[in-house]
């Protein structure tokens, strides 16, 4: 096949032409080069021609190559165009295919719709003619509307029918229930009758009724007669058929009241058949309840028996049960003289008075003048005194005959009148170691018998009044404190007394009252040497106690007993919570703030446990600060000692030259122990004036007697109130005995006070206080508190509830009946 036939593309034709041309040129070149052809003369020519031909050939070849490249490029372009066109074709083809599928699906759907078989076609509708006859207005409508109308009609009809069915069903259920009820009634009646026949309470009547020929012979006839009063039950369940009386049972019941119950039961075997139509009115069930008759009145024997039974039960309960219960559960309560105790507490029984006897020794005066002086002085004293409970009675020392039978009163003070020549004004001096007041006067001051108010007696009276001012104030304070709540009448004098004393004095008395320990038989004194380091570890305590404390204690021995303990404690540091002392530059000392003094004592660490045995412990602490913190003082006041109220005293001992002492000698202890003895007096409540210790102790005796009397009285009152407010606590006989002892001693205390025998009064008051405390803190009185009444009820209730209710109801009924009977009798 020629190439021209194959390549027809016009763009390729130049290529073909050019290639042919090139071929020709090649041929020419070959011809030129062909040696055989010898068209040229020499080789030079030939070479020249050849090169000329060659050049032309090269040019042609170059053109051919360019054409070839063009052709290749064109082929590529063509290929690309072809590919694009093909893609487009593919897309279009796919679309076409989709359309084909869609068409096929739709065709299928249409076919399915056309072939759908609807329910309404199968509905058993009423025929068209009938419907049209019923609803002529649809005659004109087209087939579709007609069909809809027909269907609607059918729907309405069916609903109506369904409703009717439900109603009928309900009626059927009701009838079945009614049926069952009747059957049960009849069955129970059946049993009832059988029982009555069996245990017929009045069989004779029954028998006569059955056997007496005069009566209606057949029970059946009776039934027809008494069908109103008897019960007739006819049970009908079948719809359209009359009731089948498959069996008819007749009972006759008799009772003591000769009431007859006749029951007729119609039982139908066919109970299960359904009921769709209302029963015929002829067969409506009739149920008539029996109209009952009340029982006959009870026989008197039965009533009597019942009464006896109930009475017997109650008799056992009241005569046996209740005493046993009372005996076993009651607690012993000794009888206490409650009103008397409360009277004591209210201060109604005893009004403490303090008649102080003051002896006047007049060795240098004739009797008459002495008597006169005494009288006038007494008169002045009585005028000065506004506190009636506390008064002074003057007495001549040789005047002992007025009370020969009774023991004499204690002498509170002895006044010695001593003449001294060169005196213008009288002068007095209280002796330090005895209770004696020396009054010096010049002999010319002896009042004449005629004068009514001589200056000497006024002077003596004033001195005495002055001496006893503080004591009076203290006693007034005690009395007013204790009677704060009682009647105003008793506190009247003391309050007027209180108002008369100076506020400073009253204040200091109140302060001392707060600070001083409560009275006790025995006080334990504990002297402790505390030091934060290790030095000093010993002290001359034996000598110090002997020198400074023992004389004081001996003086106090009539009032209280004392024991003395001492200890040395090293490494006694402050509590970690206590504020540390601060260094004060101005004084060159470490200072403790006054408000921090309460935290000074490290109660947790320091062994300051109270002493064993009755009575409070008074602690005295001698604290030797560390060398690094010395000297240690209280801020502002720069004091080194203070009293802890009702607890004890603290003294800070700063070594003189700052050097630590290993041993505290007697000299070093002198100052602290003098402070301790002073603190002890304060803590024991001794008055601060006058200076004479015996006099102060006498005052203390009176104060203690008064406060003990009042405290024992108030304890009695508390005990009385306690026993009244807690009726469940037992009161053992010992408490009653203690109370009796207390009251008798209180009485004698009061009597002693009135007679001015204060030592004896204090002794009695101490016994009274001890006994009062013992009775109040009796241990066995506490136990019962833990069994409250609720507890008892919880234990008794399961038993008493079920037993008590029938008993009480029975009793109430009997009582009611008895009352009714009495009324009825009265009416007749």
């Amino acid at each position: 096949m020629a190439i021209r036939d194959i390549v027809v593309n016009p763009s390729l034709l130049p290529v073909l032409n050019l290639s042919a041309e090139t071929r020709d040129q090649c041929m020419q070149l070959l011809a030129v080069l062909d040696p055989s052809a010898d068209s040229y003369s020499d080789s030079e020519e030939r070479a020249l021609a050849a090169s000329k031909e060659q050049k032309q050939l090269f040019a042609l070849l170059a053109r051919l190559r360019g054409l070839n490249r063009d052709a290749i490029l064109r082929v590529r372009e063509t290929k690309q165009a072809t590919a694009e066109a093909r893609q487009e074709i593919d897309r279009l083809h796919l679309q076409l295919q989709n359309l084909y599928y869609e068409q096929r699906h739709l065709t299928g759907e249409i076919a399915a719709c056309e072939s759908y078989d609807h329910k309404y076609l199968a509905l058993p509708l009423i025929p068209l003619e009938e419907f049209l006859a019923l609803h002529p207005e649809h005659r004109e409508s087209d087939e579709h509307d007609l069909m809809i109308a027909r269907i609607n009609h059918e729907h309405a009809e069916r609903e109506k029918l369904e409703q009717a069915r439900q109603e009928l069903l309900k009626r059927k259920q009701a009838l079945i229930a009614e049926n069952n009820k009747r059957k049960e009634d009849l069955a129970s009646l059946d049993q009832d009758l059988e029982r009555f026949i069996d245990v017929s309470l009045c069989p004779s009547e029954f028998r006569t009724m059955l056997l007496t020929p005069g009566r209606p012979p057949s029970p059946f006839r009776r039934s027809s007669k008494r069908s109103i009063s008897g019960g007739l039950a006819i049970n009908s369940n079948n719809s359209n058929s009359p009731p089948t009386l498959s069996h008819l049972v007749l009972y006759q019941a008799t009772s003591p009241s000769s009431k007859h119950v006749l029951v007729m039961i119609a039982k139908n075997e066919d109970l299960s058949s359904s009921q769709t139509v209302d029963p015929h009115p002829d067969y409506t069930m009739t149920v008539s309840t029996p109209s009952p008759r009340p029982p006959p009145p009870e026989k008197p024997e039965a009533i009597r028996t019942r009464f006896k039974v109930i009475a017997a039960f109650w008799a056992v309960i009241i005569l046996l049960g209740f005493p046993i219960w009372w005996k076993t559960t009651s607690i012993y309560r000794a009888s206490l003289p409650i009103p008397e105790m409360i009277d004591w507490a209210d201060g109604k029984t005893c009004r403490p008075v303090f008649p102080l006897e003051i002896r006047v020794e007049t060795p240098h005066l004739p009797d008459a003048e002495a008597q006169h002086l005494l009288r006038t002085t007494q008169h002045t004293l009585d005028d000065l005194n506004e506190f009636s409970a506390h008064h002074l009675r003057l007495k001549l020392s040789n005047d002992n005959v007025d009370e020969p039978l009774n023991e004499p009163a204690d002498t509170a003070l002895t006044v010695r009148l001593l003449p001294q020549d060169d005196l213008i004004n009288p002068k007095s001096e209280l002796q330090h170691d005895t209770t004696q007041l020396d009054v010096f006067y010049s002999p010319n001051q002896i009042p004449p018998l005629s004068s009514s108010n001589p200056p000497l007696s006024a002077y003596i009276a004033g001195e005495l009044q002055q001496l006893f001012t503080e004591e009076k104030a203290i006693i007034a304070q005690i009395l007013s404190n204790s009677h704060a709540s009682s009647a105003a009448a008793t506190s009247q004098p003391s309050s007027t007394m209180l108002s008369s004393v100076s506020p400073q004095l009253a204040d200091s008395i109140a302060k001392r009252q707060r600070r001083s320990m409560k009275y006790a038989d025995t006080y334990h004194l504990a002297f402790s040497l505390f030091t934060p380091g290790t030095e000093p570890s010993s002290w001359d305590i034996q000598a110090a106690v002997h020198d400074y404390i023992t004389p004081l204690l001996q003086a106090f021995s009539p009032i209280s007993n004392f024991t003395v303990d001492t200890q040395v404690q090293l490494y006694a540091t402050f509590a970690p919570t206590a504020p540390a002392p601060e260094y004060d530059e101005s004084h060159g000392a470490w200072t403790l703030k006054p408000e921090d003094l309460s935290a000074f004592i490290n109660a947790a660490e320091w062994p300051l446990s109270p002493s064993i045995g009755p009575g409070p412990t008074i602690n005295f602490i001698l604290y030797v600060p560390d060398a690094a913190q010395s000297p240690l003082v209280v801020k502002d006041s720069l004091a080194t000692s203070w009293v802890v109220p009702q607890w004890g005293g603290v003294v800070l001992l700063n070594p003189a030259n700052g050097a630590q002492l290993q041993h505290l000698s007697g000299d070093a202890l002198q100052a602290p122990f003098l402070t301790f003895s002073h603190q002890l007096l304060t803590l024991l409540g001794a008055p601060s004036t006058p200076a004479a210790l015996p006099f102060r102790l006498q005052t203390l005796t009176r104060i203690r007697a008064a406060s003990l009397l009042l405290s024992a009285s108030s304890t009695m009152g508390s005990l009385a109130r306690l026993t009244e407010s807690l009726p469940s606590i037992p009161i053992p006989a010992t408490v009653a005995a203690s109370v009796a002892t207390t009251l008798s001693h209180l009485t004698s205390t009061c009597e002693h006070l009135r007679r001015g025998r204060f030592q004896a009064a204090l002794a009695d008051a101490r016994i009274a206080e001890t006994e009062a405390e013992r009775s109040f803190f009796e241990k066995s009185m506490v136990g019962q508190m833990y069994f409250p009444d609720e507890h008892k009820v919880a234990v008794y209730l399961p038993l008493l509830g079920p037993i008590g209710v029938p008993l009480i109801v029975g009793l109430l009924k009997e009582v009611k009946k008895a009352i009714a009977l009495r009324k009825a009798r009265k009416a007749t």
Binding site: S188, Q191, D192, R195, F196, S255, S257, K259, P290, P292, R293, P294, P295, E298, A302, R306, V309, I310, F313, A526, S528, T534, E535, S537, S538, I541, Q542, V545, T563, V564, D565, T566, Q567, V568, L570, Y571, E605, P607, S609, S611, I612, G613, V795, P798, L799, G801, P802, I803, P806, L807, G810
Partner: protein, 596 residues
């Protein structure tokens, strides 16, 4: 057996040297490593106050709180012990202080009280126990008549007492008491230096009560010298056996950790020894320990009151060639016995002691105990049981004479006629022998229910190289309902028995007796169901109420027919309502008999 216990010698020497001192205070600490990495630390504090100042109540070294109690209770000599744990005599040897300063588990108290007769002595005894209870925060107030005995031969007064004193020995134990920190704090407060200086500064409740065995004792006795000078001596001691490994654990991380693999020393000769299997070798070197490591703190200087005493305060019993590092400044004195070295402390510088880990070539020899005793409850059931006491005499030559003392609570009723003895020689043969062969003397005081317990004291002799077993049966009483403690099912503690070895017999020449105490026992008693009484009350009440109600109703009610009843009810509105209710009930029950 002939070797005298060096430990006791040391203590006795110290005791005799101190006893003569007047109005003084001494303290000492003896540390002795025991086998199985245990360490015995014996603290001893002794202070004297002269009898005259004691009588005048001037207390300097003697604690005032205790002195007051003793005066108040007329007590001349007092011994109080708080003990927990068990002394492992098998490995630790004889007891410290020869057992004279330890008590049975719990609290033990005995005292010589001056009183005119037994009743007043007992009253004082109760006062003493209750006061001490408050002082030591222990339940000593539970020592009542049932726990109090009057031993005849087991205890001797150790102080010197005037012949005019009418002394009564009373002894009480509380085996169930748990000793703990609250008892240590008041104990330390009794010391003059209060645990703030001196060896007492080592005592810390955390370490002390973590010990394997610990015993605290307080002894008060009057001591008179030949010259007629009398002192009242209070001797307080604390003995503890600490596990060194356990004590060295830091307090904030006390969980034991296994030894790291690299530090394990394995026995390579074992056939199963491999990389992951190791049979640890017993370490031949002694573990290192130090005071501050074991007690958690060092001694904060000596108590200044002990100044002047020449003896070392802290003594350590290890062989002399062992290296011991003590704090600079402490004077070390080596005693000639080859095992004891003592250190005297500086007053203000802290003192610590360190023993580095080193090869142990020699050990301090431990004595064989003179007697081993063991007491157990045998038998089964709630009703009966038996007691078995085993005495083992390890000596091959010497028989042991001793006094065996036990107190039994009253609810444990022993049958003394069943007391039987069995002897087992070294050959292992058991022979039943009459008990009288060993029992030389018997003191028996039977129990009275709820008043006193049984007291049994036997003077026994165990032949050489043999084991004697005593057995007897007992019956368990049934307690009253209120007598049971809250934890009744735990059992009831039976106090340990006390064994006193008379010095001549087995004490090896010591002039003071040796005491051994057995462990305390737990006795299970029959315990009732404690809710029973309430159930009985409720049940009987209900039954009685039901029976009574029906009988009463039968007696007083009138019976009529149902129709009559309804007829009567129909008369009032209330009864009409009631009738309807009755009808309803009848419909339900089908009951026809009705009552008025």
């Amino acid at each position: 057996m002939t070797v005298l216990s060096l430990l006791s010698l040391l203590f006795l020497a110290a005791f005799s040297s101190l006893a003569s001192a007047n109005s003084d205070y001494h303290e000492s600490l003896v540390l002795q490593p025991l086998p199985q990495s245990a360490l015995l630390a014996s603290f001893n504090f002794q202070s004297n106050d002269s009898q005259t100042s004691f009588n005048e109540r001037h207390f300097r070294y003697f604690p005032r709180a205790l002195g007051q109690i003793l005066r108040h209770a007329n007590t001349k000599e007092l011994h109080l012990r708080f003990t927990t744990g068990r002394w492992d005599a098998e490995s630790w040897g004889p007891r410290p202080w020869n057992g004279t300063k330890e008590g049975g588990t719990g609290v033990e108290l005995w005292a010589w009280i001056d009183a005119v007769d037994d009743e007043s002595a007992f009253a004082k005894w109760i006062t003493l126990a209750q006061s001490l209870s408050g002082l030591f925060c222990a339940s000593l107030n539970f020592i009542d008549s049932t726990r109090t005995t009057r031993p005849v031969a087991s205890f001797e007064p150790t102080g010197t007492h005037a012949a005019s004193d009418n002394l009564h020995l009373l002894h009480g134990t509380l085996p169930g008491e748990v000793v703990c920190t609250e008892n240590l704090t008041p104990f330390l407060k009794l010391l003059p230096c209060k645990g703030k200086a001196g060896v007492a500064s080592l005592l810390d409740g955390h370490k002390l009560f973590d010990a394997s065995w610990q015993s605290m004792s307080v002894d008060v006795r009057p001591i008179c010298t030949q010259t007629g000078e009398c002192v009242v001596q209070i001797d307080q001691s604390v003995d503890i056996v600490l596990d060194i490994d356990r004590s060295k654990r830091p307090r904030d991380n006390p969980i034991p950790r296994p030894v790291p693999n690299e530090q394990l020393v394995c026995d390579t000769s074992k056939p199963y020894h491999s990389d992951d299997t190791c049979y640890p070798l017993e370490s031949t070197s002694e573990k290192s320990w130090g005071l501050s490591e074991i007690f958690g703190r060092s001694i904060s200087g000596s108590c200044p009151l002990t100044e002047g005493s020449t003896d070392g305060t802290v003594c350590l019993r290890v062989p002399h060639e062992r290296e011991v590092r003590a704090t600079e400044g402490a004077v070390e004195v080596k005693k000639p016995d080859g095992y004891t070295r003592c250190f005297t402390l500086e007053s203000s510088t802290p003192f610590d002691l360190n023993i580095p880990e080193q090869e142990a070539t020699t050990q301090v020899p431990l004595d064989e105990p003179v007697l081993r005793a063991e007491r157990t409850i045998v038998g089964h059931g709630q009703e009966r049981g038996g007691m078995r006491i085993i005495f083992d005499n390890p000596s091959d030559t010497h028989p042991v004479d001793f006094i065996y003392f036990e107190t039994l609570p009253w609810f444990l009723r022993p049958y003394v006629h069943t007391l039987q003895a069995t002897i087992t020689g070294r050959d292992g043969l058991r022979r039943q022998v009459p008990a009288s062969q060993f029992i030389k003397e018997t003191f028996y005081r039977p129990a009275i229910d709820r008043e006193r317990g049984t007291q049994l004291e036997l003077a026994l002799s165990v032949p050489a190289a043999s084991t004697v077993t005593l057995t007897y049966d007992f019956e368990k009483a049934i307690l009253r309902y209120t007598e049971y403690p809250p934890d009744a099912n735990r059992g009831f503690n039976v106090a340990p028995a006390v064994i006193k070895l008379s010095p001549a017999g087995g004490g090896g020449g010591a002039s003071h007796p040796i005491y051994i105490r057995t462990t305390s026992l737990l006795l299970p008693l029959p315990t009732p169901d404690f809710s029973m009484p309430y159930n009985v009350i409720i049940l009987t009440s209900t039954v009685i109420a039901l029976a009574f109600g029906s009988i009463f109703n039968l007696l007083v009610r009138r019976f009529v027919t149902a129709e009559e009843a309804s007829a009567m009810r129909a008369q009032t509105l209330k009864s009409r309502l009631g009738g309807k209710l009755v009808a309803l009930r009848d419909r339900v029950k089908g009951k026809t008999a009705k009552t008025e």
